[in-house]
């Protein structure tokens, strides 16, 4: 509350530190906060990736030999939690949202800059707390889903820290969501209509609605779970008359929308990147907007498809099957529209474009297995197996993480005023794409043939396929080397990019790169056609530049 009723002190910004030090300060500048989110998220991605490598090393042999079994469970729990709550959600929402949304609505900052800074600074301490819990009495070991009664009966300190950390991260996410909704709805430049906004604004509006509506339910659920652990109440403890399936319903009421919280912003980002590099307007703007909203509405009513084997009644299974399968329709529209955006363009094949196209191919694959998983009889066989593991990695890694990389290549000149090396970028794409598919495609077969997920030991007949998968994981680990090298080399001695290296029409490129502190010298431009490529206005722009 006190955050909201602060009095204005306009000279605050001049007191902020300058230079790189500002990234370690309680900065109120949305651009600084965006970069803070991105770098913080990437550091946690490296930790989560290290944990993933540990899992793949363990699974290179069918017996449990690399680490103790309970440590293995802690590793997989931390891997899931870190990747979801500390890497993908903060980066794809917080980082790009904070950096881009004020530009897109023609504002100088977010609606609530101080709340924004608070939202970011909740993340590092809760993340460190989570990682540190491993060194205390062992981290949580009930998986990122923390299903009771397992989460009640495993060592408690780690689980409690896990709950506190996720609660803080959820709070951060809600604050961010409130900020995005207020910024997009209320802070638009005069004269800018909703249907003229770049697609990422719509994606963030939909995402933030999901965050605001579903994250509080997770918070409530985790509070009840912590009561079960600390005060020995029986909400989810069957010994005391509780009901474990209620936890699953409440948990998935958040955690299925969480999937859309992770992919919708990626849909928005790819809608910004494709038109720029294929020099064509975004195909079917209106249907894209409606399909985002369709995904938001449907996304809230499909949660029980995670529970087809947990004793849901038949009518519920039927309803959730149909609802889930129908999400494929608005999602499909988006993919057809993106391909239609490419069609007939003048495509520059660069790192950003390659990662975006890789995203389309990976996500279509993950989407198809998703529709299959929505079918109750299909799901019954593969539920909680490596098939599901493969499916959601195709969505969150092959989908969202590819777009995160694509966006970094696309907006790096915006942030630094330097170009990235295309050679290293394409090498990064090649290794990531091959490594990713080598790692996760074989896992579909593993799941279908009888390998459950979250196991440290498995039937020896699966060893060969698991080793292929581990080699893929190794390639994915290696792929971060050219990426990091590229970032550092480009910051040090990258070529100057000019203000608008891609000749893009979206508002963020219509100011200098890197942008001035308050985004615009003078008034914000009114961009009525952010995708007006091929039209006279775009040609003018191009002639002016060349």
């Amino acid at each position: 509350m006190t955050i909201l009723i602060d009095s204005p002190d306009s000279n605050n910004k001049s007191l902020q530190p300058k230079g790189w030090l500002r990234y370690f300060s309680f900065s109120l500048d949305h651009k600084v906060i965006g970069i803070q989110y991105l770098v913080c998220g990437f550091l946690f991605y490296l930790i989560g990736g290290t944990l993933a490598s540990a899992i793949r090393i363990e699974l290179a042999s069918p017996i449990s030999d690399f680490m103790p079994r309970d440590v293995y469970n802690q590793v997989l729990t931390l891997h899931g939690t870190i990747m979801i709550f500390l890497w993908i959600v903060p980066v794809v929402n917080g980082a790009f949202g904070n950096y881009l949304i004020p530009f897109y609505v023609g504002a100088r900052d977010m609606a609530f800059p101080r709340l924004n800074a608070v939202a970011f600074w909740l993340i590092p301490p809760s993340g460190l707390m989570l990682v540190a819990s491993y060194f205390v009495e062992g981290a949580a070991q009930a998986g990122w889903t923390a299903y009771p009664p397992l989460s009640i009966t495993t060592p408690q300190s780690g689980q409690i820290i896990w709950i506190m950390s996720v609660l803080l991260l959820g709070g951060s996410s809600i604050f961010g969501g409130i900020n995005f909704i207020a910024t997009i709805i209320k802070l638009r430049r005069p004269g800018l209509k909703l249907m003229q906004l770049p697609m990422y604004c719509w994606a963030m509006l939909g995402t933030s609605l999901l965050v605001v509506l579903s994250t509080p339910v997770l918070a409530g659920t985790l509070i009840l779970l912590s009561f079960d652990i600390v005060a020995h109440t029986g909400f989810f403890n069957p010994v005391l008359g509780g009901n474990v399936v209620v936890y699953q319903h409440l948990f998935w009421f958040y955690s299925h929308p969480a999937v859309y919280i992770m992919v919708l912003p990626a849909f928005g980002l790819v809608s910004e990147i494709l038109p720029v590099h294929s020099r064509k307007p975004l195909f079917g703007y209106t249907t894209m907007v409606f399909s985002i909203m369709g995904i938001v509405v449907l996304g809230l009513v499909v949660w029980a498809h995670h529970m087809f084997t947990s004793g849901t009644p038949p009518w519920m299974r039927l309803f959730f099957t149909i609802a889930t399968a129908f999400i494929a329709v608005p999602t499909g529209i988006k993919f057809f529209n993106w391909v239609a955006t490419l069609w007939g363009g003048k495509i520059s094949i660069n790192s950003a474009m390659l990662f975006s196209c890789g995203f389309i191919i990976n996500f279509v694959f993950g989407g198809i297995t998703g529709v299959a998983l929505a079918q109750v009889p299909f799901d019954i066989h593969v539920h909680d197996t490596y098939f599901v593991v493969a499916h959601f990695h195709y969505i969150v890694y092959g989908g969202t993480v590819f777009i995160i990389f694509s966006s970094i290549y696309h907006w790096f000149p915006k942030v630094t005023g330097k170009l990235m090396s295309e050679k290293l970028g394409i090498l990064h794409f090649a290794i990531t794409f091959i490594g990713f598919n080598l790692c996760f495609a074989p896992q579909h077969w593993l799941g279908l043939n009888g390998m459950p997920r979250r196991v440290a030991e498995y039937d020896p007949q699966f060893q060969f396929v698991n080793q292929i998968s581990s080699i893929g994981a190794l390639l994915m680990a290696i792929s971060t080397i050219p990426f990091l090298l590229n970032i550092f080399l480009s910051i040090k001695k990258g070529k100057d990019s000019g203000d608008n290296p891609w000749n893009a029409l979206t508002p963020e490129w219509l100011t200098s790169s890197p942008p001035p502190v308050e985004n615009w010298e003078g008034d914000a431009p009114l961009v009525e056609e952010p995708y007006g490529y091929g039209k006279p206005i775009s040609q003018e722009n191009l002639i002016k530049k060349t």
Binding site: A182, L187, V212, T215, G220
Partner: protein
Amino acid sequence: MTTLNSSKEIKKDDSELNEHHEDFRMFGLITFLIADGMTFAGFFAAYLTYKAVNPLPDGAIYELELPIPTLNTILLLVSSATFHKAGKALLKNKNSDTQKWLIITALLGITFLICQLFEYFNLPFGLIDNLFASTFYALTGFHGLHVTLGTLMILIIYWQTRPKEGRITSQNMFPLEAVELYWHFVDGIWVILFIILYLL
């Protein structure tokens, strides 16, 4: 709130943008209250599911007395009205009236909390006796936490509306309006809670 765009643009068109500024703080608060309401919705959903599918063990006590919660409902509804009076008075620059109404609202809130505690101590079941008891305490406790926070904020507002020195005036109504909206929200949740928990 330090919004650069507003502080900068105010120079151009003071009155219009100032109102715009007020407006989205309220908008943000409403969004936050929707989120908060979803937490309660989750609790209510859990309570109703338990009630429908998890029979209590034989001999479990789950009878609730109605008089105290009914009194509490009246207390909160009256306090909503008195808070509204406070806002009206501030609009007319009658700060002492505002303070009077605010202190009445705060006292009503405190009475509510005392009654709630009295009910807790006189209930025949404890937190971990059975599923119903746990859910009962979780719901009312979470709501009581909201009332406690609200009462504290009312007291802060009371301090800040003191004549002449207070920061909250008819020109700067937002803090009072924000707490008022929050207080109405907490009342509304109590009415739903009362119906679901005590009457159903």
